[in-house]
């Protein structure tokens, strides 16, 4: 059994977001971190590894410096890493990215017992599209927004956290699961893990590795092959402080209704 986890290096958006004059994100001026939801996926995989002995492979698409992030993920206990990196892949939107990642995952091979895991979404684009698109490309059943995962033989029970409640789904392997932060708390790198991570297997899948794969079509990858066009990126203006009303009595409710009526919300 193996678990393939997709991870992405993203700019740290907890500080100020830097935007280039042409409207694109100024990634160079922001610290690079591992996408937080992806770390939840890695943690879920590590927990399953402890239970089943599964091998964990992380896959990332990005420029060569993303190796540092992949080594850090291996320092947490992941067994091997693959960086999908080529000029031809640069500038891909979610549609193009998911084709390339699906080709990479298919090249590794998804067998009957295997699971593919992704974070729900990356904090730089917030699309939540890549995981589901990979599943569609690979023809795998997908379960998104996993807040709880249990495995019993080839059956995975996933508790999905939705805006209006929970939904529990049973799915058979192989499948793809996207993970949310409520699923777990990612572990730290360990000292032993750090001193081992540079001797663990690390591979680069470049254009030549994947170019003959059936998912790879030169016209639908990279910036030119991406149907999405970004017109502009900007830091949204800060919202004003909200108003909090306390109490569950009639007077508070009337006050709330009054405020909402004044704003023509009701």
């Amino acid at each position: 059994m193996k678990i393939i986890v997709c991870v992405k290096q993203v700019p740290d958006t907890s500080g100020k977001v830097a935007v280039n004059p042409d409207g694109t994100l100024n990634r160079a001026s922001m610290a690079a971190i591992t996408n937080p939801d992806d770390l939840n996926a890695v943690e879920a995989a590590l927990v399953l590894k402890e239970q089943t002995g599964a091998e964990i492979i992380v896959v990332s698409m990005g420029p060569p410096p993303a190796e540092g992030m992949l080594r850090e993920v291996m320092a947490r206990g992941v067994d091997r890493a693959i960086l999908v990196s080529a000029r031809e892949f640069g500038g891909s939107d979610t549609y193009a990215t998911s084709q390339i990642l699906a080709a990479a995952i298919d090249t590794i091979g998804v067998e009957k017992d295997d699971i593919v895991m992704c974070g729900r979404q990356a904090i730089d684009g917030d699309t939540a599209q890549v995981g589901p698109q990979i599943a569609e490309k690979l023809g795998l059943p997908q379960v998104s927004y996993a807040a709880e995962i249990t495995k019993d033989g080839d059956t995975i029970t996933v508790k999905r956290m939705l805006e209006d409640g929970y939904m529990t789904i049973k799915v058979k392997t192989p499948c793809l699961i996207t993970c949310i932060k409520e699923l777990n708390t990612p572990r730290y790198m360990s000292v032993g893990g750090v001193f081992e991570c540079y001797s663990k297997p690390y591979e680069i899948f470049d254009y030549n590795t994947l170019k003959d794969h059936r998912f790879i079509d030169k016209d639908t990858i990279g910036l030119s092959g991406s149907p999405t066009n970004i017109l502009t990126s900007f830091t949204p203006p800060q919202k004003g402080a909200g108003m909090m009303l306390e109490g569950a009595d009639k007077a508070t409710c009337e006050k709330l209704a009054g405020i909402m009526a004044a704003k023509h919300m009701i």
Binding site: G68, E72, Y188, M189, S190, V191, G192, Y198
Partner: protein, 380 residues
């Protein structure tokens, strides 16, 4: 000298930093106030391999290096002097002498549990009448058949109340002076062993400090560490390594105080300007930073020399002397920059100042470090 950190060292420092900020800093004030040993933090550090950083994996260690260990103590001390000394005493004073002087059987028996943090280690050398003059040991060990019988009292033992494994020194032949001192590995469960009261201290108040009491304590003969009569040398070599740990603790305390002072002086407004805009503040902080950076160079140089198996006694003494006096100076200046608020427990700098003082005293006072350095200079 090359101070280029390896990728692994950079990465492991990042991990220590995240861990210290998230797991250690939030507890620092509480464990100081309540004089409570942070066992929950030790358990977390154990899982991450922080209790056996530079020991080989075959003995349960993390397979790291001495500089990575020093950086761990440094990063912990930035936010909590107590947590830093727990790791330092355990690693330098208990794991290290067993690793460096133990037989293969002793290493296999004791190191895996110590390095994995299942057991905590401590070191018993100091006695009420044998502090800086460690040669005045009154604890005696008498060989009786297949075991030694130990009698005496050790004091000011870091980790004393929480440790399971102790490296203890006792006189096996009083007539030989220093050469009559032997080292032993003592387990908490050995008959005749007990611990005394918890010392109430000025700083590092969450760390356990107590007496070790030996009343006809039975120690199996195979728990003699090194040769009979070789204990004083083991003690001195162990303290050389320990000084790197304490120097790292002092370094971290100074760095932590600077971080707090930079933050505070950029917020605090007096005379319609931020304190950080005043030349006095800038000059104070610049001096604090220079001294602390210099201390870091000395500490890292000592750690790297130990890693290379050179004679690092002088480097360790210089690092400890300079880092400890820097920590006391920098934390005192930080309190001054905070003014009245710095004197209250609302801010961490008074704790850092209290914690810093001990680094000038334990594991060899600053005066002892000067004696060692002068000896290496050939000054008699």
């Amino acid at each position: 000298m090359d101070f280029h950190l390896s990728k692994e060292q950079e990465m492991v420092r990042k991990m220590y930093r995240e861990f210290a900020e998230t797991e250690v800093k939030p507890l620092a004030e509480e464990i100081d106030e309540e004089e409570r040993f942070p066992m929950e933090t030790v358990e977390k550090m154990a899982k991450l391999g922080m209790m056996g950083i530079y020991f080989p994996k075959e003995y349960g260690g993390a397979g790291g290096d001495v500089l990575s260990y020093a950086m761990c103590v440094e990063e912990l001390a930035k936010v909590c002097g107590t947590t830093a000394v727990i790791v330092s005493a355990h690693t330098s004073l208990c794991c290290a002498p067993i690793f460096e002087h133990g037989t293969e059987e002793q290493k296999k028996k004791y190191l895996p549990d110590l390095c994995s943090g299942k057991k905590i280690g401590a070191f018993g050398l100091t006695e009420p009448g044998a502090g800086t003059d460690a040669s005045g040991q009154q604890t005696i060990a008498v060989l009786e058949g297949d075991h030694y019988v130990l009698n005496g009292t050790k004091c000011f033992i870091t980790n004393g109340n929480v440790a399971d494994t102790f490296v203890v020194f006792a006189m096996t032949d009083k007539s030989k002076g220093n050469r009559g001192i032997s080292a032993f590995i003592v387990e908490k469960s050995f008959p005749g062993f007990s611990t005394g009261k918890h010392e109430k201290k000025m700083g590092i108040r969450g760390s356990s400090t107590c007496d070790l009491i030996f009343e006809d304590c039975i120690v199996p003969k195979e728990n003699l560490l090194g040769k009979e009569g070789g204990g004083f040398k083991i003690a001195m070599q162990t303290l050389d390594g320990g000084r790197i740990g304490i120097a790292s603790q002092a370094l971290g305390l100074a760095e932590g105080a600077i971080q707090e002072a930079v933050k505070y002086t950029q917020e605090r407004v007096q005379f319609k300007m931020r304190l950080s805009q005043m030349q006095n503040t800038q000059f104070q902080l610049a001096d604090m930073e220079c001294r602390t950076q210099a201390a870091q160079h000395l500490v890292y140089a000592a750690a790297m020399k130990k890693q290379e198996h050179g004679d690092y006694s002088k480097e360790a003494s210089m690092a400890k002397l300079f880092a400890a006096e820097t920590a006391s100076d920098v934390t005192r200046r930080a309190v001054q920059l905070f003014g009245g608020y710095g004197y209250t427990r609302e801010y961490p700098v008074e704790r850092m100042m209290r914690d810093a003082k001990i680094t000038e005293i334990y594991e060899g006072t600053s005066e002892v470090q000067r004696m060692v350095i002068a000896k290496y200079m050939g000054v008699k």
